[in-house]
Symmetry: C2
Subunit: 279 residues, 2 copies
């Protein structure tokens, strides 16, 4: 069985940066807190927890110590709490720069009175954080069919950093004929765009695709959706050893891609496990 | 033979307004000049010429008298010439308000340093006039395939008022994945949009489409293209009597639409001519 690994698989710039900062902080400060998992990969988070990271679910539980803001960012209220308590709480910010950029652009749209359409998952921490900066004043949707049939004067369209470009295009098309002005900030990060494109191309050339990454990771789920659309034999697994449950019958060529929060070592381990199958 | 006439066929608001102003001006001032035909319908222009209108090709030939600015507008230089000579030349402006609006939006894009993409025909007087206000600083294209393959930071997309919405959508799609920001002003006028939509739907229901209007009229040519795409038996005629050259063999249902510069009387005459065929 031939094994192909996507060049773009694994850690993105934002995740690599977040982990590096977190590891340095844990080395210097010891016990540190994050609000929710620092990245969406349970295995990586567990490794960091072994080094002193503690994941909490409510910022107000922290009265003193070090707080590491995770790659997805935090809400305006949470940021204000940390600022108010800066004498007792040290804040280390690992928010992905692409998320910060999206926040600034969202604030511009709000300030300039655009009707804001936000392509994203309203339950995702990145989206929750971003929306808090505009008081939730946006129509959040995951499917362009959800866009209402009204006419608008000034429309702003923006996206969660890990969404699919095709969805952004369809949304733009739909909004264009309903609005006098449509201002689109393409906030899908370049790495996501390249990774999705490569995954799509690879899926067409292989007999099976394996997508490795957190089941709670937005970008990994999107990758799996993209592969599944053209390659029915697509499996989204979180751990390299999950391949034991997959039927490789008739597979001559398998493709591997991985989400932005998946470390290189996990990908290499998956390759090793596949080689051991001796197909 | 059943004859269907599109509700949206014929004069649009801008054309009706231009002719009304021109007729009033000719009544009050007598001999008046326009730079190029006031609307793109030779028959209507001829009628106005009989009432005292004179079509010229260079504004500088006018040293005194009344100048009627046609519905497509004029260039910045021409406007400046008229202003400079306002003591001798009276100016009556019939520029379509949708063209004026597009001009203002174009100037905003230029001022805010967007890379401007202009969907339109660079030889059309509306486009020539509009571009003069931004010193021609735009990439003008008629086919989205002409959009270069570069990456851009801030892109502005705008359109001639009589273009096809589908082309604007395709252009937006193409530009979206190349730019960090894409700001689209949908300057296709509502009447054009509705007329094109109705023409498309009617073309599917009939055995033949007749599009009536000036051969030099951008919006009429677009209408004919839209009909032709789904109804092979589409004829773009300028005069109602041109139907004598058309083969109506097997036609049970004929659809009629007409450009924005086509008077109601011409459409009624066409209907009469078709009835006389007794098919």
């Amino acid at each position: 069985m031939e094994i192909l690994v996507a060049r773009s698989a694994g850690f993105c710039y934002g995740v690599r940066r977040a982990i590096k900062i977190a590891e340095e902080t844990l080395k210097n400060d010891g016990l540190s807190y994050t609000l929710g998992p620092i990245i969406h990969n349970p295995k990586v988070v567990k490794e960091l927890c072994n080094k002193g990271l503690k994941v909490i679910d409510d910022i107000k539980k922290i009265k003193k110590g070090t707080v590491i803001i995770r790659s997805h960012g935090i809400s305006k209220n949470e940021a204000e709490y940390l600022k108010k308590n800066q004498n007792n709480i040290k804040t280390v910010d690992t928010t992905c720069p692409f998320v910060t950029k999206a926040r600034n652009l969202l604030e511009i749209l709000k300030k300039e009175r655009y009707k804001i359409f936000f392509l994203g998952d309203k339950e995702h921490p990145e989206v929750k954080g971003l929306l808090s900066y505009i008081d939730g004043d946006a129509i959040v949707f995951l499917n362009p069919d959800e866009i209402p049939d009204n006419d608008f004067k000034k429309v702003g369209l923006i996206s969660q950093t890990t969404q699919k470009i095709e969805l952004l295009k369809t949304s733009a098309e739909k909004l264009l004929q309903k609005s006098e002005e449509l201002r689109i900030f393409n906030t899908i990060c370049k790495t996501t765009f390249v990774r999705q494109k490569e995954a799509l191309e690879m899926s067409k050339k292989v007999d099976m695709m394996i997508v490795l990454g957190g089941k709670n990771s937005s970008n990994t789920k999107k990758l799996a959706e993209i592969c599944k659309a053209v390659q029915n034999r697509t499996y989204h697994i979180e751990e390299p050893d999950e391949i034991k449950d997959i039927d490789f019958n008739g597979v001559e060529k398998v493709g591997i891609t991985a989400g932005a929060s998946t470390p290189k070592e996990h990908i290499l381990l998956l390759v090793e496990n596949l080689k051991k199958l001796q197909i």
